[in-house]
């Protein structure tokens, strides 16, 4: 592809990515939001995280089947326990990496 084609492509991709990121914030932050919407949005972070994580843990990447034996899930168990006990973000990241590395060697 030529430089002009790359530029056109990435500006196009950039625009369609930026607008959904910016418009709700620009609009809603200067509006009086109804309490119902605020309450609903309060559940969005936990819902987004649950929806992001679960398929990583339970969907096999090659067969696209649901499984309970994925390494990602097995490592998530001690990682989750560590997160609940310590509530340390950095510690949890390192512990998760350590178990994943260890499991990759032994399993």
């Amino acid at each position: 592809m030529s430089t002009a084609e790359y530029l056109f492509l990435f500006i196009g991709m950039g625009l369609v990515t930026y607008l959904p990121r910016a418009l709700p914030l620009l609009y809603l932050s200067h509006k009086k939001m109804p309490q119902g919407l605020i309450d609903w949005l309060g559940y969005i972070p936990v819902a987004v995280l649950g929806a992001l994580l679960a398929p990583i843990l339970f969907i096999d990447t090659t067969s696209a089947a649901i499984t309970f034996g994925k390494l990602e899930f097995l490592v998530a168990i001690p990682t989750l326990i560590f997160a609940v006990k310590t509530r340390s973000l950095g510690g949890t990241v390192l512990v998760g990496m350590f178990f994943y590395w260890l499991a990759g060697i032994f399993l």
């Binding site: 914030l25 809603l28 649950g50 509530r87 950095g90």
Partner: protein, 233 residues
């Protein structure tokens, strides 16, 4: 509304909040760069894409579609669909950025990703977190992303894949941030509904729509349970 610039302690805590994201972006950015190199995408084009788009999954899809010879319109259309989930995150952030001037929000919006959203929402909710600290998190993550993706094109093949379990950094971060978001029984139920809906959705429908699908279903259930609870009490 504070208009003060952050103190050095506040900047330090923003850097501290951002490091798991930065660490997690290194292997993903390198992997993306390696794929781009295989698709004959030059490093400067990768730099341009990471600056203009800054969205991990869309960039992976873009590289795959370029390699497959897709039309530019198809790539842009797919990017739009994949990144619609940011509508939800941008809306949820508006609760904590109410009344902030639009020039700041325009800059801030650029850096809204799954990762920065999860980190900043946990901090905003815990309190004492300023929009400037949130902006620092966004832009640190962005800088590392640009560096990692460009490095991937240039030297990615020299780096051993999967070293030190680094591929698990973002998963570990999401697990802990999920724990931070469990403020009570309704939140635990919401997380479980999101997980179940997203897994079934991802299993039935190819693509990334499971994130929006699972999140909207679960947040709506959580909200309806809250209304029911408040009525009965």
């Amino acid at each position: 509304m504070d208009h003060q610039l952050p103190s050095s302690a506040a900047i330090k805590s923003a850097i501290y909040a951002a490091w798991p994201i930065c660490l997690g972006y290194v292997p993903i950015g390198l992997a993306l760069g390696v794929l781009a190199e295989q698709a004959a995408i030059p490093w400067w084009a990768m730099a341009m894409m990471s600056v203009l788009v800054f969205a991990g999954s869309a960039q992976f899809i873009c590289v795959a579609m370029i390699a497959a010879g897709s039309s530019l319109g198809a790539i842009i259309g797919t990017t739009f669909i994949v990144n619609l989930r940011h509508l939800l995150m941008s809306s949820a952030l508006a609760v904590y950025l109410h009344g902030v001037r639009r020039s700041f929000l325009s800059l801030f919006a650029y850096g809204i990703t799954d990762e920065s959203f999860a980190v900043n929402m946990a901090r905003f909710r815990a309190g004492g977190w300023t929009r400037f600290q949130a902006l620092i998190v966004n832009h640190l993550a962005n800088s590392v992303w640009i560096l990692a993706t460009v490095s991937g094109v240039l030297i990615g093949q020299l780096v051993p894949a999967g070293a030190f379990g680094i591929d698990y950094a973002l998963v570990g971060m999401f697990i802990c941030l999920l724990v931070f978001q469990l403020h009570g029984r309704l939140y635990v139920i919401t997380a479980l509904i999101a997980a179940i809906v997203a897994v079934l959705w991802a299993w039935l429908i190819p693509g990334d729509s499971y994130i929006v699908g699972g999140a909207v279903c679960a947040a709506t259930c959580g909200y309806l349970f809250q209304i029911k609870r408040d009525k009965s009490s």
